[in-house]
């Protein structure tokens, strides 16, 4: 199964937060989801993921955006 990709590059806070939360609801505990986002959303998205116990296992850059590999809390 390929890892689902959630694109929130067109969103601003708090929709970035809401969409990531909804994306995580669709996957099983310890499951993976990739999140594509703009630089300005990095801080809020990563810090709220960490606060809720999820892990960002990889970060990569692609043409002005970032791609986060997120592992849902177990």
């Amino acid at each position: 199964m390929t890892t689902p990709v959630l694109d929130i590059t067109g969103d601003v806070c708090p929709m970035t937060f809401v969409k990531v939360k909804m994306g995580l609801q669709k996957i099983a505990p310890s499951g993976k989801i990739n999140v594509r986002l703009k630089e300005e959303a990095l801080k809020n998205v990563i810090s709220s993921l960490k606060t809720e116990g999820h892990r960002v296992t990889n970060v990569s850059r692609e043409e002005g955006t970032f791609l986060l590999e997120v592992e849902k809390a177990g």
Binding site: I46, S47, S60
Partner: protein, 291 residues
């Protein structure tokens, strides 16, 4: 009553109004916090001795305007049981302002109202060469505008980078609002420019691997700010102060320096432009018993 008497009354927080025979009475408020009991007493005093209104000052204070001179002592007596004192004016340490701090605000780093109380207890109303204002912001979002004050304090988080475990993903570098973080020439090391860092802690909050950590969490002091006719922003002095006691000791040493070097009716920032900021820093480091 002569001019000297009016001056004395003003120092005690009772300001003669433009309208003859009336006074605006400044109350002693710290960090903009009043209990409902105090508010009821203030309402009673304004109804009985003023015109049923109060003025909220630009620095979180309260004044009761339109009080006749012969009511001043009765007004003081009415307020006293609720713990509301009369304020100060003239060349003294003024109202200490503060935000709600870390116990209320999710962004808060320090308990700013607690520090405001501690500073107020020790220094409020004490004589200095010119008015001296202290303002305390719980974090670097700086709602209290620390740099506008003769002594401003901000909650501050100082980051430390730990190499092992870091994937060099670049998130900290990207989120830093002042571009204080950069990769070394080889890309192996992360460098934090302390002179650019504003202590917001964004790099720590967003680090995916937890290798950007808190080195210090505490109080950062800014000296010599003022507004008025010729505004000047206070400048950052000393390192991060780790405890409330250290912050109070630093303010005490700053006030001592002002008393020793300030001319009468000269604002602290102007004193510092004569002496230079390094003179203040070495004095505070020595006298403030700081680490």
């Amino acid at each position: 009553m002569n001019e000297a008497d009016f001056k004395e009354l003003k120092k005690g927080g009772m300001m003669r109004q433009a309208e003859g025979g009336l006074f605006s009475v400044r109350l002693h408020v710290t960090g903009g916090r009043l209990s409902t009991k105090q508010l009821r007493a203030i309402r009673e005093a304004a109804d009985r001795f003023g015109r049923g209104e109060v003025h909220l000052t630009s620095r979180q204070g309260v004044e009761i305007p339109n009080v006749p001179q012969d009511s001043l002592s009765a007004l003081k007596e009415l307020l006293a049981p609720s713990g509301v004192g009369v304020g100060v004016c003239g060349p003294t340490v003024r109202t200490v302002t503060a935000c709600q701090g870390c116990k209320v605000c999710p962004s808060g780093v320090i308990d700013s109202p607690a520090l405001a109380e501690a500073v107020d207890r020790r220094f409020y109303g004490k004589p200095v060469p010119h008015k001296f204002k202290v303002g305390i912001s719980g974090c670097t979002n700086n709602c209290i505008k620390a740099e506008e004050n003769d002594a401003g304090i901000k909650g501050w988080i100082e980051p430390r980078w730990e190499g092992p475990g870091c994937t060099r993903c670049g998130v900290c570098e990207a989120v830093c609002p002042t571009k204080a973080i950069s990769k070394s020439g080889t890309g192996e090391e992360l460098l934090i420019d302390r002179s650019l860092c504003i202590g917001c802690g964004d790099c720590i909050a967003s680090c995916p691997t937890g290798t950007m950590r808190e080195e210090n969490r505490g109080y950062r002091l800014f000296a010599g700010g003022k507004f008025g006719r010729v505004p000047f922003l206070g400048k950052r002095i000393l390192g991060v102060l780790k405890t409330e006691e250290e912050a109070v000791a630093a303010v005490a040493a700053v006030l001592e320096f002002f008393r020793a070097h300030g001319k009468s009716r000269e604002r602290f920032g102007d004193t510092l432009r004569r002496t230079g900021f390094p003179a203040l820093e070495s004095y505070v480091e020595e006298k403030g018993e700081l680490p």
